[in-house]
């Protein structure tokens, strides 16, 4: 299954919220849809979930206009809300049946999901008696209750403690392994980096970056080197700066934690730097090329300046 957004535009009044949004997500992959607050993530997601209609552009499923009766959709809204006075089990059964399940399979799936999320004891409890994190687990279970083909999760990790976040992560990974098409928005970059191959960054209603994380990182110059010397890093740095070739090769260097972080003027100077390090005394424990983190990329692309910059696509 392949979900494609093509030139989606959406305005509210005079405010243009989405400008020609286009991307493609495939079954068996999780796409991280990233952006700052107000960038247009939730509006895109609502259009995908057929809550809003776009003003222009089209949403295609396997190349044809998306029809809601052709696939099962699992959706976790950004703001969580169910019926606080109703019991968890009743609500899960209700939503499951609304999505076309019979009572027996709705109950079976609901119980299995609650067990997986270590929340089976909440079946008979009113939602309002659960903590915020546990309410969120119930919501996520409801999103995937009916074995959806497409799973859209808006900020699924917000407000979760690390243990619950890890459970949630396992559940999402499982959906991907089951060849589901998963799209989620998040601000928690480590989670995104951990199990997303594909990311898409939206800024001020425009896609500023779209692609596989590995490919994106490769487009950045590999000129940042981390060095872990055997002795004191500060003394080691001082000794290096005395080398004649240092000023022509290095643009910036500093001590960060137990390592030196060296920014070369040109990535092709890596070999020359390695030779210099090999000759240095005391010796060196480890040398590594530092790739930009997803957070670095996000900050670069989603900052106001980033919007104007032309980044790698």
């Amino acid at each position: 299954m392949e979900l494609t957004l093509r030139n989606i535009c959406k305005s509210f009044g005079k405010k243009e919220v989405l400008k020609n949004i286009s991307f493609t997500v495939k079954s068996g992959e999780a796409m991280g849809y990233l952006g700052r607050n107000g960038a247009g993530k939730t509006t895109t997601i609502r259009i995908l979930a057929d809550i809003f209609r776009s003003d222009a552009g089209e949403v295609l499923l396997d190349g044809t206009p998306m029809a809601r009766n052709k696939f099962r959709l699992g959706y976790l809204p950004e703001e969580r809300g169910l019926y606080p006075k109703s019991k968890v089990g009743e609500q899960m059964m209700y939503i499951g049946r609304l999505r076309g399940m019979d009572a027996a399979s709705a109950k079976k799936n609901a119980m299995a999901l609650l067990e997986e999320l270590e929340a089976e004891e909440y079946w008979s409890r009113k939602l309002e008696t659960l903590s915020k994190g546990n309410q969120q687990k119930i919501q996520l279970a409801i999103a995937v209750l009916h074995d959806p083909d497409i799973v859209i999760l808006d900020e699924p990790f917000s407000g979760l403690d690390p243990v619950n976040a890890s459970m949630l992560k396992r559940l999402i990974v499982k959906q991907v392994e089951m060849n589901k098409l998963v799209l989620f928005s998040s601000h928690q970059m480590p989670y995104v980096e951990e199990f997303c191959e594909h990311i898409c960054i939206i800024n001020y209603g425009e896609i500023v970056l779209d692609g596989k994380i590995r490919d994106i990182k490769k487009t950045y110059p590999r000129n940042k080197i981390a060095v872990w010397p055997e002795g004191d890093p500060a003394a080691f740095l001082r000794s290096l700066t005395l080398q004649g070739a240092w000023p022509s090769m290095v643009s910036e260097a500093c001590v960060k934690n137990d390592a030196l972080e060296i920014l070369l003027k040109d990535a092709s100077d890596k070999q020359a730097l390695l030779q210099m390090l090999a000759a240095a005394s005391p010796g060196v424990d480890r040398v590594q090329v530092v790739e930009p983190t997803l957070e670095d990329i996000f900050v670069e692309k989603a900052s106001p300046q980033g919007a104007a910059m032309e980044g790698p696509q």
Binding site: Y75, L82, R97, L98
Partner: protein
């Protein structure tokens, strides 16, 4: 249909299990059980009755009335020598009223003005008038036996009810009274049913919007089915509540019906006309869902709980027009304005049902009214569904009329 029935079941169960619903149902059922029994219980114990006949201290300055007071005024009247003694007896609480009677006038002493005091004043005046007539006849040489015969005359009377086609029906004055009661019952029940059920619909729709549950629901089910299921579920719950109340009232009347009742109490001996009862259920259900769709559609246009009350004003004003038209229209159910209002579907549940109860509505009028209400419900449901679909996802400020009209494009 399956999805709508799922929503129907969930809404019915959730509303029926809510504390407010259970509380109101218990209160209404208890009221319906004890209401009809109260006058009978009071009469059974004989402490006081409902007809306004109470103990009276009489001072007769003429000597003519001692033997008549029991007949005209009260069998428990006590005779006193002076008005001071009589007033002291009232002050002590042994008597409720005191009266000082002269040849052609009397003074009544009361502790508070009320219907009982006015009735008593009339009774004493009647006693004095009759005494005056008897004396006058006697002066003319008419003997007491002849006088009794003259005064005993009272014309026989009969009230016949004509159908709208001009034919004499079998309805009696008792039927008229009973049916008038049912007209009141529907008006009150529909009014209060909409107060609770309509308010519940508004609250749940606004809450679903404010908590964004609506987004989850709308991705699981079509908006029209959501609204229809919700409205019908709540309507069924309110109807159940009403049937429980009517059942309790019928049971209570049945239990206490064996007691001898007279006057006001006798009016409570209602007979259940199957046609009227059937119409009561039909008109209640049609009226409720017509307004409930309106409530749901309007509720979907606001997203804050504090706005929930303000959007109830319009349907509530329409309900009140129908409600008061039915109540005031009972004095003259054949009036043109009542006829006109009864054919407007929004007011028909109140006004047409009142005409049915009072026998002024022809069968064809009833059939046309029901058809018009069903058609109106279809229109309101369709329009409501479009507004609901658009309104459920409209956040922020209250919508303008232009926004609502956009839903139909």
């Amino acid at each position: 249909m399956k999805q709508m029935m799922t929503v129907f079941g969930f809404e019915f169960k959730t509303f029926a299990k809510s504390g407010a619903f259970i509380g109101i149902t218990i209160f209404m059922v208890v009221l319906a059980l004890i209401g009809p029994a109260i006058p009978r219980v009071i009469q059974f114990f004989g402490d006081m009755d409902i007809g306004g006949e109470r103990r009276i201290a009489v001072v007769d300055h003429t000597g003519h009335f001692a033997h008549r007071v029991g007949t005209y005024v009260s069998p428990t009247a006590g005779m006193f020598r002076t008005i001071e003694d009589a007033r002291a007896a009232v002050a002590d609480g042994d008597y409720h009223y005191a009266v000082s009677i002269h040849e052609d006038s009397f003074t009544l002493y009361i502790t508070a003005m009320g219907v009982g005091a006015l009735n008593l004043e009339n009774s004493i005046a009647l006693m004095l008038r009759d005494h005056h007539r008897y004396t006058a006849f006697a002066d003319l040489g008419i003997v007491p036996a002849q006088q009794e015969a003259i005064f005993a005359f009272f014309p026989r009377s009969e009230v016949m009810t004509l159908s709208p086609a001009g034919e004499i029906t079998e309805d009696t004055a008792e039927d008229f009274f009973t049916n008038m009661i049912f007209s009141y019952v529907l008006s009150f029940v529909l009014y209060f049913g909409l107060l609770t059920g309509g308010s519940y619909i508004v609250t749940t729709v606004v809450r679903e919007k404010s908590t964004k549950t609506m987004e989850l629901l709308i991705t699981s089910c079509k908006a029209g089915r959501l609204m229809n299921g919700k409205v019908l579920g709540v309507a069924a719950a309110v109807l159940t509540q009403i049937l429980l109340m009517v059942g309790a009232a019928a049971l209570s009347m049945n239990l206490f019906g064996g007691l001898e009742t007279e006057g006001v109490l006798g009016m409570l001996d209602l007979t259940f006309d199957p046609y009227i009862m059937g119409m009561l259920v039909i008109f209640f259900f049609l009226g409720f869902i017509m307004y409930a769709f309106m409530y749901a559609a309007l509720a979907s246009t606001v997203s804050r709980m504090e706005d929930a009350n303000s959007i109830q004003t319009l349907p509530m004003m329409l309900v009140m027009v129908g409600f008061f038209a039915a109540i005031f229209g009972m004095t003259n159910p054949g009036a043109l304005w009542i006829n006109v209002l009864s054919h407007i579907p929004l007011f028909a549940p109140f006004v047409m049902f009142m005409r049915i109860c009072l026998g002024t509505a022809a069968l064809w009028e009833v059939a046309v009214s029901i058809a018009a209400q069903v058609a109106t419900i279809a229109v309101v449901a369709f329009a409501g569904g479009r507004i609901y679909r658009m309104g459920t996802l409209m956040y922020g400020n209250k919508p303008r009329l232009r926004d609502l009209l956009a839903a139909f494009r």
